[in-house]
Symmetry: C2
Subunit: 468 residues, 2 copies
């Protein structure tokens, strides 16, 4: 549907301009003062228009475990997560909807769902997520999370030999699933794309990486993975490859301008140079990095090296929200404690660009998304600047990024289709979603993860922590 936003604030090189914006056939057709009205009129007065942000890394089904896993590092956290992972496609559908609603109501128009697959129901898992994202209308990159090594392989050995576990699915079978997912669901022109997404070097063979690269090249797919999230992963990479995981990925040919790398907490200077040279994108997930004690990613160094950086919420079992504005705020201000020279600190305007154009760049979509430019697709968010949380009036982008906006997202369009109006998602029945999430869950009090028990002593030993 065509429409024209009237008298809306948009950021200018300095300050803000008040303009009209025409949207025709899902794209931005014109931006200027006093334009002719095409289609419906939308009142933009006292509102700020920005390109939609990209929630560039999450795992939607973790929503079933948010608020629940105790404060432990990734290697133990993931053991508990997998002991209690959802097993029904219906749950996948509901948590994808929940993830989408929270992303949309915090400024996001695109989600990258590094989707945990239900064993034996892999295609059904992907189908459930696709169904949810199509219904709600968010732009979605579905990155089926694959691996071909067992979870315990992901712990450093500390020099001790251990039995080789065999993963329940072969590398070839996993790649066949990916092929099927591409055939069935990859429709980027409709806003649903598949990515190749090995979980990370810690649980994947070179053969799996190579298979992913082939599929990515054949179908022009984005590439996604976890990279050096924790110190333990850095230790493991040294054990496994004898050198840096980043260097290994470069040798394999996995890194390119459409590769987005979640976390990147433990990279050294040489690794950073590789990212800059290969044009790979770092997806910064500040909240899960804090919650899991993974560390503070060297984002200011990435910026200075010319590495593209964007933001993700990460899955809701390690954050535990899907509020993108929260991730952007914390992901901006966190780094001020890592560099005494405030001339290097991120500004709110830089953060907006990282969250929008930075995200689009990491998905190979910078020509289509990520800024208010004529010809780009209309993935847009309209912020109500009369929300108490954005008052008194000062600098709209400063208020939005550094504040804690509530009831601020007035409207959202994806591909020119309105999916949030008057602060409400209009494409799905949100009260019904709440009811279903409520009725299919219960207030837990205590649970015990057998795998955490199994891993903990070894983990503490290799990380140099006192025995329990």
């Amino acid at each position: 549907m065509n429409f024209t936003l009237q008298q809306v604030l948009i950021p200018a090189t300095q300050g803000y301009d008040t303009v009209d914006v025409q949207i025709v056939d899902g794209r931005i057709a014109a931006i200027a003062a006093h334009l002719e009205v095409i289609g419906t009129t939308v009142d933009g007065r006292n509102k700020l228009l920005l390109p939609g942000f990209i929630n560039a890394h999450t795992h939607s089904s973790e929503m079933w475990q948010r608020g629940l896993i105790p404060p432990v590092p990734l290697e133990l956290w993931i053991a508990e997560l997998y002991d209690f992972t959802p097993l029904h496609p219906e749950q996948i559908y509901l948590s994808a909807l929940g993830t989408a609603v929270e992303t949309l109501l915090s400024g996001g128009t695109t989600v990258v769902d590094h989707l945990v697959l239900i064993p034996g129901q892999e295609i059904a898992t992907i189908a459930a997520a696709v169904k949810a994202y199509r219904e709600i209308g968010i732009r979605a990159f579905i990155a089926p999370l694959i691996q071909d090594q067992e979870l315990d392989t992901g712990l450093p050995t500390g020099g001790r030999s251990k039995e080789t576990s065999v993963y329940h699915r072969s590398t070839d079978a996993t790649l066949a699933i990916l092929q099927q997912a591409i055939d069935q669901f990859h429709h980027p022109e409709q806003g649903i794309a598949i990515m190749v997404a090995p979980t990370g070097p810690q649980l994947c063979s070179d053969a799996l990486f190579t298979g992913c690269i082939e599929l990515s090249d054949r179908y022009h797919l984005g590439r996604h993975l976890h990279l050096l999230e924790t110190q333990a992963q850095k230790l493991l990479a040294q054990e496994k490859y004898g050198y840096s995981a980043v260097e290994h990925l470069k040798h394999l040919g996995f890194l390119n301008h459409r590769t987005s790398l979640a976390h990147c907490v433990w990279l050294d200077e040489a690794d950073i140079e590789i990212l800059a040279a290969t044009q790979a994108t770092v997806v910064h997930n500040p909240l899960s990095n804090l919650r899991l004690g993974s560390g503070i990613a060297p984002i200011l160094k990435y910026q200075q090296a010319g590495v593209n950086v964007t933001f993700g919420c990460d899955g809701a079992a390690s954050n535990d929200s899907q509020d993108l504005l929260e991730a952007i705020k914390i992901g901006s201000i966190l780094h001020n404690v890592t560099d005494l020279d405030y001339r290097h600190w991120l500004t709110p305007r830089q953060a907006v660009e990282m969250a929008s154009l930075g995200g689009a760049t990491g998905l190979g979509m910078a020509n289509e998304l990520g800024s208010l430019a004529v010809g780009k697709q209309a993935d847009l968010v309209l912020y109500d600047l009369t929300s108490l949380s954005l008052l008194p009036r000062t600098d709209p982008i400063g208020l939005l990024i550094w504040g804690r906006p509530t009831a601020a997202i007035e409207s959202v369009w994806v591909r020119g289709e309105q999916i949030v109006a008057q602060h409400q998602v209009t494409t799905i029945d949100v009260p019904a979603l709440r009811h279903q999430l409520f009725s299919q869950s219960q207030w837990h009090t205590e649970r015990q993860s057998p795998t955490v028990k199994q891993f903990e002593a070894h983990y503490r030993s290799v990380m140099g922590l006192p025995a329990l």
Copy 2:
């Protein structure tokens, strides 16, 4: 008004209990299953009841500059803040209301307002804040921010001699204002209390501290100040006293069980021992510490040393929100990156206790506030656990503290009086407040602070930063 909450969830030693809670004459009269109804009935089903949190450090009038000051460290940030500080008591009234609304809608029932005084209108400033807090009904500790040295005194000299600036008001005149404020406004039994609150060692003489101690002892007032927020303040204390600021405060007799100390980022082991021995409270303001690049306060060390810790939002020009749940979330998870041993990490339940009982303890009110206990005052918050942001159901406190609750605060009572109902503040006209904040402000684009220009070269020099 008396009332009885029915079938509400409250935290138990393990898990949760479903109980009824009777509130009589502003206090908790009984907590048990199946109580007789006294007064009005409140449906507590699918809701969580917690003691109100304490926003234990803020500066309400900074709201006029939120989102606005560029990313610079405290010493330059404060120069810009003071160049553009509000000058009309009407503004103080409005920003106090705004601060109270945001605090209430994020779980707070008490605010500690370290209130910046308009020169020459000091009593009118305090009166405006008192009026706001009385009208809205939040419990308020008003801590008039006083100093007797000029702002430039707050920068380390780096060994260079500098002219001594004279502050515009004498120490005696400042103490006289405080005396008048106590006489006029100190009514703790009505929920409004005055605190003695020198801004911090960096801008206060020993005479001012001594005068504050005398008033505090005579009127049983809480004591509040900024302490070692930045590395520059630590350097300055060494220049000024020749030893630690904490030791100096101890010698002066300022530290006791009713002293709350905002920030405490740069304390060493000996300082921490002093805090533990004197029973002073640390108010952790994680968001402003990140935003200003001040550093990460050693909160886990405080916990291990037995120092009481609670949370504050800090003023909205350095955060830039007044969302207490956000401060608690970040103030909990931030420290996981400072200690590899996850056995030391804060749990959501610990965070709740720090934010409620910890805050009450710092104000000398632990017998009256801060927990769900029979006989305590009814400063209570009722959370709606059917908010999408708190679903699916897992652990209610985990969801609340680690998530990003929206529309979760259903009701709030202070001293047994309901001031939030059905997610809305009921005691003031919030749309009118929004209108006034909107009409008395404008979207700035650029402004220049003359004092920042004056301070910057010296600041960079003493901090070892390259010259511009």
